[in-house]
Structure formats: structure tokens, C-alpha cells
Amino acid sequence: MKLIVLQRKKGELNLPLIYGAIALLLGVMAYMLHLQNRMPLMRCPFKAFTGIPCPTCGSTRLVQGIFSADLPTAFAFNPLLFLTGFALIAWVVYGVTMLFYRRRLQLVLSPKEGLVFRLGIVAVFLVNWVYLIAAGV
């Protein structure tokens, strides 16, 4: 596994900033709904029909928990989405640094490492889902 620094090409997309802007826009909209106590608590059709939560169940309550500054409760509602949110913040910070230094990082993996990485992502996704089912989120 190697982490290499590359020169950014002219016109290359700054994806962290794009997704950061989208997340910020949606976050502001959600916060405005939260302030007015109008955050829609959606009924998950998957859970309604099968009785078990879907992999994204708990996300609305997670966001409410964050807005109420109750981070442990927010984490308990969906740990993977909670951590993904913090990973997004780190990614956006990286995007901001790309603006100033005009460099980008690239992770180079061997085929074996790539396979382990992909299986790891699937495993984390499944473990989180099992947790949601066990915790009855």
C-alpha cells in the first residue's frame, strides 16, 4: 500500500468540496426543520414489511441526536452513518487543503490489498446492519 502525492490537473474536480457543499446545504435544511420541530420521521417501508431495519434505518434520529448535541445517542442509532459523517468532514478538510496546495493524494493498492479493502467495506456494512437488527433500531 502506497500513498502518493500528485499534482492536480487544471480543471480537475474537487469532489470533497462538491460533496461538502451538498452535505452543508442538506444539513442547513434539516437543521431548519429541526428548529421548527418539523423533521419528518419517515416510516421505513423495508422495516414495515419485513420487521427488520434497513441499513440506513435510524439516520433521521441520528441527525436529530446530533442537532441536540447528544452524540452517544446519535452514534447508537446508526454507528456506520455517524462515522461516515465524520469521515466526510475529514474529506472536506482535505478538499480545502487541495485548493491551497494544488496537490492530491492517491492511495495505490496491490490487487490483494484491493480485495481485502473491498471485502472490508462489505464486512463493515454487514456488521453495522447486524447491529441495527440486534439493537432493534
Binding site: 474536480l13 462538491i18 451538498i22 423495508f46 414489511f49 419485513t50 492511495l107 473491498r118 467495506i121
Partner: protein, 244 residues
């Protein structure tokens, strides 16, 4: 992690990439909508024809890598147009889907019962359509590219996936057909994305199909689980009969 090795076409009005053949590089045509020698309307119509009628040829031979500005504009124009027309058509011709769904699922009693939007809300929604389209494109592209990467099918950059999704959104034009437009647009959208992802990323067709189906896969699992829970065809028939 692979990057496109196809250079961005210079804006010189030519219809072909300036990449010299013979050194392993492919010759890729410039998408008509992105071709600066054509006016925007001609480019739009030509691109729509290619995407809707010759999708395999289009995604295989036209340049999908590079800048995303033109494809984004294409998707916004097509989405805004078809969204507005379908909204107007829905007022006069579409059946009351929410009423039908409420008959089958009585627990969804509030479906479609929301107060009609005010004039200000309608205008705001109309203005916000492009923002919604842009957010949707980035969101769907991220999911598709993630799934393609997991399947080891993402042989090109994220920009390629984004451009494919943006041009494949031409299927939303089918929404202007009354009654069946919505489902037809959704189904043809899956087909276009599957073809686009496999041809654009130069990978197996099944990988494109899986990636294009992922957002719908959960819905299918959900429906199957529901069907199973209702006791198959007999149980479902009985349930619907009792609901009426």
C-alpha cells in the same frame, strides 16, 4: 483507482479527439451537446437521439471522461423540461396513484393527503428543480461509482461515471408520456445506466447491470419480502379483496 487515459478533447470544433491512433489510445467522438461547433439546440437533439436510440454505440464511442459541465447542463435542461411537462400533464391526465395505493395499503392513509402547495411553494419548487437534479446526479454517481469500484469494474474516473449518469438521465424525457411515462422512464433509465456503465468503463455488462440495479434492488427485496409475508399469490389476492 484507475484514471482516464483519454485526454480531454480540445475545443477546436472538430468532431474527433486529437489523440493520434496507433499508440494504444482509443479514438473517442465528442458528444454533440459538448461540441462547440454546434448550437445548443442541435447538440441537445442529436445527443438525445443518440442516447435514447443508440445507447450502446453512444456510450462506447463517445467521450465520457473529462469535464462534467456540459453533461450537467444537459441533465438539468432535460430534467427541468420533462419535470415541468410531466407535472402539468399529471394535473389533467394521470390516474390518482395515491388513491390506488391507499386501497392496497390502508396503513398509508396519509399518502397524497398533504395540503396542496401554495403558489409561492410551486414557484419555489420550479426554481429548485435544477438544484435537486444536480444533487441527485452527484448522489447517484457516487453510489454507482462505489458499487462499480467494489465489483472491480470502475476502470475509469468518477467523471466518467458522472457523465454517463447525466447523459442517461435523457430517459426522463419519457415522463412526458401520460400515465405510463413515469414507470417507462424509470425502467429505461436502468437500461441506459447499465449499458452506459459497462460500455463507458469498458467492463463486463453484468457489473453495469448490478450497479444500475442497486438502488432498486432494496425495493425488489422489500416487495419479495412483502409478497412472502402475505402468503404468495393467494394471500395477496385475499388481502386486496379484504381491503376493498
Amino acid at each position: 483507482m484507475n484514471e482516464d487515459n483519454i485526454p480531454v478533447t480540445p475545443d477546436n470544433g472538430s468532431n474527433e479527439n486529437s489523440n493520434p491512433p496507433g499508440n494504444g489510445a482509443e479514438i473517442q467522438l465528442t458528444v454533440p451537446f459538448a461540441d462547440q461547433s454546434k448550437d445548443i439546440f442541435t447538440g441537445l437533439i442529436e445527443t438525445l437521439k443518440l442516447v435514447l436510440l443508440k445507447p450502446t454505440y453512444f456510450f462506447k464511442n463517445y467521450q465520457m471522461g473529462g469535464a462534467i459541465g456540459k453533461s450537467l447542463l444537459f441533465a438539468v435542461i432535460v430534467g427541468w423540461f420533462s419535470g415541468t411537462i410531466s407535472l402539468l400533464l399529471a394535473k389533467v391526465s394521470d390516474p390518482d396513484w395515491s388513491e390506488m395505493i391507499r386501497k392496497i395499503f390502508p396503513e398509508l392513509e396519509n399518502l397524497g393527503n398533504a395540503a396542496p402547495p401554495s403558489q409561492f411553494q410551486s414557484i419555489l419548487s420550479f426554481i429548485m428543480i435544477p438544484v435537486g437534479i444536480m444533487i441527485g446526479l452527484f448522489f447517484i454517481s457516487l453510489i454507482f461509482h462505489g458499487v462499480m469500484s467494489l465489483l472491480q469494474g470502475a476502470n475509469r474516473s468518477f467523471e466518467t461515471t458522472f457523465n454517463i449518469v447525466a447523459y442517461a438521465s435523457a430517459s426522463s424525457l419519457l415522463r412526458i408520456i401520460p400515465v405510463i411515462g413515469g414507470p417507462a422512464s424509470a425502467i429505461y433509465g436502468i437500461v441506459l445506466n447499465a449499458i452506459g456503465l459497462s460500455e463507458g468503463h469498458r467492463t463486463d455488462r453484468w457489473k453495469g447491470v448490478v450497479a444500475a440495479l442497486i438502488p432498486y434492488l432494496l425495493c425488489i427485496i422489500c416487495l419479495l419480502a412483502f409478497f412472502q409475508a402475505m402468503g404468495g399469490v393467494d394471500g395477496l389476492t385475499e388481502f386486496i379483496r379484504n381491503s376493498q
